[in-house]
């Protein structure tokens, strides 16, 4: 590709996204619809800025779906996945089977042969992982019953693509006779394993899966540790991308879905200390690629075809959506979902999926479906995907208020994310005492540290520690900063500490900060930055040493302790006063001198038992004055 042409393309796509997504969000339509509209606008039927190459872009951008599943996997610990096995197999299996049967029935009624009908039913039973997950995530609904169930169904569908790729060519025998098996352009088949006998293909598949699990366990983690130690962030990002792309290639080469492979890798790495870091590194790539994917879906909608047969297409879209809705609603009922959740679940999944594009062209090449039938169906799928965000809005604004029961505030327990009330940033000699005290008292604590060796050691001791730089908003978010109550800022370097404060004040203004301060300048900086609770790291220990010194010199313990308290109170007050004038050097120095003198006066007065101060009640001078004569 010519550099200039590439930049032109990039410019068009990015500009479309930057203009339409904020606009769509503003109108309450969600980002997916914004991207789709952007695609239609720049597509051959809109401004015509991109042409047929939109198809190629789509294939490229499908990689966003792969990345998304990797991220989804990272959020799902194996134990949690195991707990979801019921919904995945039961709900997902039934959804695909029942929907496929129903749609195949409709196709047969319309006069298509049974084999073609079955192929169409299977392909259209799939929903769009990209659109559904993106939309649910954006609305914060992933943790609800409906979100989890939708996810389970989508996961099953992703797995179901593999047997479908195997079954579709067989259906051709039942249809107009087998065409030569062609290789498909999406890289889903036509690989070296095709030439192997069936048992070897199976072995290759199993080997690849086992390889991912074993490598994830024993190879990837130590590798990340070494990479993290270099301290170069872009290399860590590169390693993350390398991992995802490598797995995708491996899976494609054995004929498995890359999305499934990366999902698996994500699950394997879900318990890793690098999870949050990986998440935040891959996230922007995933976001951009998915956006690109949605744009290309928008651009690929064939409006010529739709315009030539508007009634038929509209009817087909209607049938597709209604059949899927009914099946999903019934299944939701069977699986005992509440009405609200059931509606959300059904409306979320009632569309065709991106795999349909691949499978339709695959089926057409294999002669299972004629291209006259496939072309309008591809348009139908694209339209149903475009309608999904609108359908969700319809559900939210019109259906739910009328029929829903409003289960607000009764969300099921959140099992995926970190949601501890406290985040400790920096788990060195300062932070670890705090962390241990909190943990010993049963306070859920998420720990972030940038020293990978240290993280490794702590995890061996059984602590939940994550590797990562807490000054990054995305990482803080992954650690639960938008829901935590407190951030304990115990990092070593003042620059890092202030950087984190700035990030938190900007992105998580409700998160309360308790900050460790190195010395006076850092204390002032923290106070200036609006941190209310600042703890000078040496103060308490120094005072304790001072108290012990006084005791060794013959002071009464209680007196020494009270003197230290007094010193501390004055000192804290001074710091807060001096911070206001520290930029004016002259006032600062003269005021500081004054304060030191004040402090000395107070301490001396205390020693000499004169002057009005708090311990006056234990001082009998005034009593002697008033009652002295009569007492004797």
């Amino acid at each position: 590709m010519h550099g200039e042409a590439f930049f032109y393309q990039a410019f068009v796509y990015l500009a479309a996204a930057v203009v339409s997504v904020p606009l769509a969000k503003r109108l309450g339509l969600g980002s997916v619809l914004g991207y789709l509209i952007a695609g239609i606008a720049i597509g051959p039927f809109g401004l015509g800025l991109v042409g047929r190459e939109g198809q190629d872009v789509m294939h490229f951008a499908e990689f966003g779906v792969v990345m998304m599943l990797f991220l989804v996997g990272l959020e799902l610990r194996p134990a949690l996945l195991w707990r979801l096995r019921g919904p995945i197999l039961g709900l997902g299996g039934l959804q695909v089977t029942v929907t496929a049967m129903a749609l195949a029935g409709v196709a047969m009624v319309m006069g298509l042969p049974w084999s073609m009908s079955l192929a169409i039913g299977l392909i259209l039973a799939l929903s769009s992982t990209a659109i559904v997950l993106q939309t649910l995530n954006e609305k914060g609904l992933m943790k609800t019953r409906a979100g989890q169930s939708s996810f389970a169904v989508l996961l099953f569908q992703d797995i179901a693509v593999i047997p479908m790729l195997a079954i579709l060519p067989l259906l051709a025998f039942g249809a107009a006779g087998a065409l030569a098996k062609g290789t498909d352009d999406a890289g889903h088949a036509g690989t070296w394993v095709e030439g192997l006998p069936a048992w070897a293909q199976t072995a290759a598949v199993l080997g690849a899966v086992a390889g991912i699990i074993l490598a994830g366990r024993f190879l990837v983690q130590p590798a990340f540790r070494v990479i993290a130690r270099t301290g170069l962030r872009e290399i860590f990002t590169a390693a993350g991308l390398l991992l995802v792309i490598g797995i995708a290639l491996l899976m494609a080469s054995v004929g498995l879905s890359p999305a499934l492979g990366t999902f698996l890798a994500g699950v394997v790495l879900a318990n890793s200390e690098y999870r949050h870091e990986l998440e935040s590194d891959i996230e922007p790539f995933k976001g951009l690629l998915l956006g690109l994917f949605f744009i290309s879906v928008g651009a690929s909608v064939d409006f010529d075809l739709i315009a030539s047969r508007p009634g038929t297409i509209a009817a087909l879209v209607g049938i597709l959506i209604v059949v899927k809705l009914i099946v999903l609603l019934v299944l939701g009922r069977v699986f005992r979902m509440g009405l609200d959740q059931n509606l959300l679940f059904a409306f979320a999944l009632a569309q065709g999926g991106e795999f349909a594009f691949v499978l339709f062209s695959f089926a057409a090449q294999n002669g299972v479906i004629t291209s006259e039938v496939a072309a309008p169906l591809i348009a139908v799928v694209a339209l149903s995907m475009g309608l999904t965000p609108l359908l969700m809005i319809v559900n939210e604004k019109l259906v739910q208020p009328r029929f829903g029961t409003r289960e607000r505030g009764e969300r099921p327990a959140d099992t995926i994310d970190e949601h501890n009330p406290v985040i400790v940033a920096g788990f060195g000699r300062f932070g670890h005492v705090i962390g241990r005290l909190l943990l010993a008292n049963g306070v859920g604590t998420t720990i972030l540290d940038v020293d990978s060796d240290h993280v490794d050691l702590l995890r061996k001791l059984g602590l939940t520690v994550f590797y990562g730089d807490a000054s990054r908003p995305d990482l803080l978010k992954a650690a639960g900063a938008d829901r935590a109550k407190l951030l304990i800022l115990a990092v070593d370097r003042p620059e890092d500490s202030l950087e984190i404060v700035r990030t938190v004040k900007k992105h998580f203004p409700n998160l309360e900060i308790l900050a460790r301060a190195r010395g006076r300048p850092h204390t002032y900086d923290l106070l200036d930055a609006g941190v209310e609770h600042v703890y000078r790291e040496h103060l308490d220990t120094s005072l304790r040493v001072g108290v012990d010194a006084l005791r060794k010199l013959g002071f009464r313990s209680h007196q020494a302790v009270r003197a230290a308290r007094k010193f501390r109170r004055h000192d804290e007050a001074h710091v807060r006063e001096l911070v206001r004038m520290r930029h004016d050097r002259k006032t600062y120095i003269s005021r500081a001198r004054e304060m030191i003198r004040d402090l000395e006066d107070v301490m001396r007065a205390d020693l000499e038992e004169v002057g009005h101060d708090r311990d006056v009640a234990w001082d009998s001078t005034s009593l002697r004055e008033e009652f002295g004569q009569s007492v004797d």
């Binding site: 308290r565 708090r614 311990d615 006056v616 009640a617 234990w618 005034s622 009593l623 008033e626």
Partner: protein
């Protein structure tokens, strides 16, 4: 202020999280308008009492309530420390010490023993009122009027509904103190304020 009296509750319990009765009593009064609820152990976990602040608080209120469990026939340690430090000579007592003159002091306590145990024949040998003599005399020396105490007896054997009833009584009493709807003369006849609340509460305003 529209209320007849401004109430300051000085609450002392070193382990509120383990208390059954006091938690309910606290919940019953902590949000009453015109009542300042001051949790001493919460404010001064190191018993490092801010004398100036405490004196300012006292000056701003008309009736002071000491709410606490009855530990060893007396108050928890922090309340004694509070008395030692805050009630200064020359401020609270002595020739110039008139800051608290005319204010009222009430004790509100919870005691493990039954009422019958607190008498000359019972195993505690003294009545609650007798055991409270140091506080009563402290109040008198400060020129304050000491009222009969509000006492929840037998806390170890109270049922949950008993506790709820006592909490409701406590709230009624504090509100009545605030609104000036207690007949103080009638109240002095009783050994404790809550032995028959209906008798000592006058009709509202």
């Amino acid at each position: 202020m529209s209320h007849a009296n401004r109430i300051l509750i000085l609450f002392a319990h070193p382990a509120l999280e383990r208390s059954r009765v006091n938690r309910q009593l606290v919940r019953a009064v902590r949000d009453i308008e015109g009542v300042t609820f001051h949790d001493l152990y919460e404010a001064y976990p190191d018993l490092d009492i801010d004398v100036e602040h405490e004196q300012t608080l006292l000056l701003a209120h008309d009736i002071v309530v000491f709410q606490h469990p009855f530990y060893w026939y007396s108050t928890p340690a922090i309340l004694k420390e509070w008395e030692d430090l805050v009630l200064e000579h020359g401020w609270a007592y002595g020739a110039q010490g008139t800051a608290l003159h005319g204010k009222k002091l009430v004790s509100a306590l919870t005691a493990g023993g039954r009422e019958a145990a607190y008498c000359g024949e019972g195993h505690n040998n003294f009545t609650i009122r007798q055991l409270l003599a140091p506080i009563e005399q402290t109040a008198r020396l400060c020129g304050m009027d000491y009222l009969p105490p509000f006492v929840v007896h037998g806390t170890h054997s109270l049922t949950d509904s008993d506790v709820v009833a006592h909490a409701a009584d406590y709230r009624r009493m504090v509100v009545a103190l605030r609104d000036g709807t207690i007949d103080f003369e009638a109240a002095r006849e009783f050994s404790r304020l809550n032995s028959d609340l209906d008798r000592i509460l006058t009709n509202r305003r």
